[in-house]
Each structure stands twice: as structure tokens, then as C-alpha cells.
Symmetry: C2
Subunit: 330 residues, 2 copies
């Protein structure tokens, strides 16, 4: 039942699907209360790269019989794309909740909404609507699997918080944390995209691994930019990880390879939240390059998973997106 | 298929079902991470009256063919009971998130967990697990309806926050807020209990109205205790509504009936968060009694809804619970 008339460029299909995703998003969040609607409009500014919806849509297309037909993207794909973005936005809003301890420097700009309590409830409203919207897809498997994803995500955040200011955090724990808090949701986007195209389970699993790799690399790159990026290019406050006592990969690599004397200097800079010094030390000591190399390695492994797909412009675009993840400076 | 051997007293059935609910609760939240498990144990102290699970179970029994058979309470009833309690606990945990403004007095005791950020993530973990557990019941209607309930609940909280320090809040808006943030979930507990017993829709709707009435009265009583209760009897910090700039029914009644001179005194006391003075004025002016009378009136109307049920000791217990809502001083 493929309609060759509807064949379009990947970019045109993606643009159309993302626009539909946004419409579903807004319609789902619409409230009878102006106060709620104005907060939801506030949330729009969190919407950035739409990485997760894009991956749902492209994974759906790439695993379909006809990757260049708009009709290969079903309503369920779009709902799932929207649910994933809503969950992601909820985590961004809740990430802005600050403790007194972490308001030290950039608190005023970070939590520009209307205080912690409103940010909490707004995030809850997004989570609740994400699950409600997911239920509308009428596929109980999606509800169950999204629930597992968000359980894992919250555990990742809680474990990360339990390691706040823990300068002895090791690499395996770091990777377990980012697997849970970032990689699992991105993996699910690719998995659901494939699953809803009705493709074989080994492809569904390969797409899940692809997404997890991309998500992991994306998180490492985020951590790198937070330490070593340029604020005007990245477009958000940097040094937040340090403010929040989060140990990221470059710092972990730096500490694990430091002499006793260097170690003392690094620990002191962490204690003083002195990110300018840390950036200098990490750059000089090669920790930035090492972390970047890890991200590249992970993305390269992820891209190999795309070998299970038939060649298509959509597959090429997934390759390109994966690569851009570790090349971006924003 | 009723088993007369399993006939037990209502109290024994309820005890058994609540114990099972707790087991499901703990099993659902169990994590691979000790840090997460220790936080979940922390949450247990929020568990109080188990009002919501009790209403699911009793509504299920009261609308079943055999209200005194343990077998009338199905696994789905217990899952729903647990989901409702998890959602309620998430709101309690998130209610403890404080803005700088509201940490003024009792912040230290209120947020005794591990800071705002952990409380946010722990609440999210509870919400996520609630939806995940709900999906396990394998009834998509439940997912959809629970989603609607939590959307409404969050809207209620957001609208309440948008009226922070709004001393012109009127009665209709107050009732709309508590309908959304409290009554709808309590109503859903009774509705789901009946729905899962497979009873006629008019009974399901009557039970929903019963629950909403009980929930509304419960919230008014909570507000009353926060202003006029005794801290050692209630067992939690009082005066929190005032600290958080929440206008509650006794204050609304007080202001709407005050002379200009009295009004100025009341507004000044609100401004100064002087709950001792407000309590005195509200007691003397009859606002406490008036608010209490409203709660009694609402509960009496709710109890009439129970007329749709066949007489049984379970129905009697529902009557008693409703009445106790407005008599409790804890």
C-alpha cells in the first residue's frame, strides 16, 4: 500500500513529521487555565534539537519497507516521538531545581521560571501528560516499556545525586549513570521507531544499541561542553556540572591519571568550583582529548549497528547524526 | 463462584489487602542501587492513613456480589490501590520542595531528606513507578484514566501556585483547586474500585462522586488543621499553608465576611505569616466553624451517594470513614 506519489526527500518528511509532533505536543498540554498555558509556552524555550523525536521518526523510516514514503511514519510513531520529547523536557525542567548549595553562582539565570515549586509541578505536568499521551496510542507494550525507561532514568539521576561531590567516582559508575539517565531513553526512541515499523526483533535490538551509543556519546559531549565549551556558542550557562558537584568524564580521567601533586591541585580546583583552572589543566593534561576520543569510539561502534539496515538516504542521515553528536560545539 | 469459607470480617479483609498493597509497593520500588532503596525506605515515613488504597479496596468490596469475600478484591484492585498511594506519596515528596521564600520558618524540618534535587528525583521515581505498575495491570483504560487524573492534579497544583499570596482568591477558585489537586484522585480510587468489580456505570459514577466529596472534605479538614490544629496531635509541622502563601477556606471565609478594619488586621497577619493571630481571629469570628460546617455538609452529600449500594458491613464502614474525615484531629 505504498504511495509513490508521496515520496519526498528525507528532509521534507522529517520537517513534516516534526511539525506534526509539535502540534501533538501543544494540543496535549493545552489546559483550561491560562496560568498553566503560559507556563507551557515558557517550556517551549527548552525545546532545542528535537534529537529524540528525530531519532524515532528516522528509525521508523529506516526500518520500514519504504524509507522515503511519508506514510511509513505512523501516528503511533508521532505519538511516541512526542512522548519521548515530553519526558526529556520534564527532566530539563526538573534539572533546573536547585538546592541552596548549588545556587551559588548561576542560580539566578538557571531557574528563571517562577521558583522551585512551580518548576517541580510543571515538570510533573509534563511527565503526567507524557504517560497520558502514551496511553492514547492504545498499545500497552509502549506504556510498559516507557515506564521501564523512566524508572531507569530516575534511578540514574538518583545515583548521580548520591555521588554528589564524590571525587572518587570511577569510570564504570560514571558510565552506568549516563547509561541510565541518558542512553536508555535515546535507545528507546530508536527501538520504538523500529518496533512500530514491525521489523524483526534483531533489527529492533540493533537500533536500541545504536541509540544507546548515540545517547552515551551525546552525554559525554554535553559534559565536555559544560567544562570546555564557549558559553556564547553553547547557548546556556556552563560550569553547571561543577556547581552541582557532578563528576564528569574529563575530570574522572584527569584524576585517574594524575600524580599525587597534580591530584591535590585538581581536587582543590574542584572544591573551589574553579572551572577556568580545571579547563586549563584538563586541556593541558589531555583529559579533554581523551574524553572526546571515548565519545568518538562509542559513536563508531554505534554506527556499525546501522549495518542491519538496507541502504537508504535515511540510513545515511542516521550515520551523519551520530557523527555530528561528537563534532558539535553547541 | 463465591467461597463462603473465605468470608471474613471487613477489618480482616482490609488488613490483608493493605498488607498485600504494601508488598506490591515495596517490590515495585526495589532497585539495584542501595542509594535508591535507602531513599525509598525514607519515603515510608510519609505513609500514613492509607486512605486511598483503603477506598479502592472498600469500594471494590462494597460493589461486588459478595462484599465479605476476600476473593472479591482482585489483583487489579490491589495494583490500583498501590498506584494511587504511589501517586499520592509523590505529591507529598514534591510538596516538600521549597523555594527560598518558603524555607523561612520550618524549612529545616520539612525537607529533612537530602535537599531539593533528591526530593524532586525521588518524587519522579515514584510517579514513574506508579505508571509502570499501572501498565502491569494490563488494562489500557486504567492507564488512560490515571493519566487524566494526574494531569488534573498537576493543573490544580499549578493553579494554586499561580495564586500564591493572592489574598483575593475567592471561594469558587479555592474549590476548583482542591477539586483538582485532591478530590479527583480520591474520587478515582472509589470509581476504579467499583469499575474493577464490574458494576453498572451509574454505581461507578456514584462512587466517583462519593470519593470526590470525601476528598474535598478531607482537604478542607487538612487546611483547618494546618491553621487551627495542635502540632503534637497532627504530627506534622503546621502553618505551612501560610508559609507557602496558600489561601485556605477559613481565611477566605474570614476575609469575605470582614469589615474594612478587620480586613486590614487579617491581611497584615497574613503578610507577617502570624498564624497564632490568624487562628485567634478565625476562631473568634466563626470562620473555623463555618469552614468545618462546609466540610460536614459536603461529606453528608457524599454519604447519600452510598445509597446506590446494597446494605453491607462494608457500606457501613465507608459511611464511617466519610464521617471520620471531618471529625479527625490528626
Amino acid at each position: 500500500m505504498l504511495d509513490s506519489v508521496s515520496h519526498l526527500s528525507v528532509a521534507a518528511i522529517l520537517r513534516d513529521c516534526l511539525a506534526e509532533t509539535e502540534t501533538i505536543f501543544e494540543r496535549q498540554l493545552a489546559s483550561d487555565f491560562p496560568a498553566v498555558n503560559s507556563l507551557c509556552r515558557h517550556v517551549e524555550r527548552y525545546r532545542g534539537k528535537m534529537l529524540r523525536p528525530t531519532l524515532v521518526i528516522l528509525s521508523g523510516l529506516a526500518t520500514s519497507r519504504d524509507p522515503l514514503a511519508r506514510a511509513s511514519v505512523t501516528d503511533r510513531h508521532l505519538i511516541v516521538a512526542c512522548v519521548a520529547e515530553m519526558i526529556h523536557m520534564a527532566t530539563l525542567v526538573h534539572d533546573d531545581i536547585l538546592d541552596d548549595a548549588s545556587t551559588r553562582r548561576k542560580g539566578a539565570t538557571v531557574n528563571a521560571l517562577r521558583g522551585n515549586e512551580t518548576a517541580v509541578m510543571l515538570g510533573d505536568y509534563l511527565i503526567s501528560n507524557a504517560f497520558h499521551l502514551c496511553s492514547k496510542a492504545g498499545d500497552p507494550t509502549l506504556n510498559l516499556q516507557f515506564g521501564e525507561v523512566t524508572n531507569t532514568l530516575c534511578e540514574g539521576e538518583l545515583v548521580q545525586l548520591s555521588h554528589r561531590d564524590d571525587t572518587s567516582l570511577d569510570e564504570p559508575t560514571y558510565f552506568e549513570i549516563i547509561r541510565r539517565k541518558t542512553a536508555v531513553l535515546v535507545g528507546a526512541c530508536c527501538r520504538f521507531g523500529a518496533m512500530l515499523s514491525g521489523v524483526d526483533d534483531h533489527v529492533v535490538q540493533a537500533m536500541d544499541r545504536f541509540g544507546r551509543g548515540v545517547g552515551t556519546a551525546f552525554q559525554i559531549q554535553d559534559d565536555l561542553l559544560d567544562l570546555a565549551g564557549k558559553e556564547d556558542v553553547v547557548g546556556k550557562s556552563l560550569g553547571r556540572d561543577l556547581d552541582k558537584g557532578k563528576m564528569t568524564l574529563p575530570l574522572i580521567l584527569l584524576l585517574s591519571r594524575a600524580s599525587n601533586a597534580e591530584r591535590a591541585v585538581v581536587l582543590d580546583a574542584i572544591e573551589r568550583r574553579d572551572d577556568a583552572s580545571l579547563r586549563r589543566i584538563a586541556e593541558r593534561g589531555g583529559a579533554i582529548d581523551m574524553a572526546r576520543a571515548r565519545a568518538v569510539e562509542i559513536v563508531d561502534a554505534a554506527r556499525k549497528e546501522l549495518g542491519c539496515l538496507a541502504p537508504s538516504p535515511v540510513r545515511d542521515l542516521l550515520h551523519e547524526m551520530a557523527e555530528r553528536t561528537v563534532r558539535r560545539d553547541f
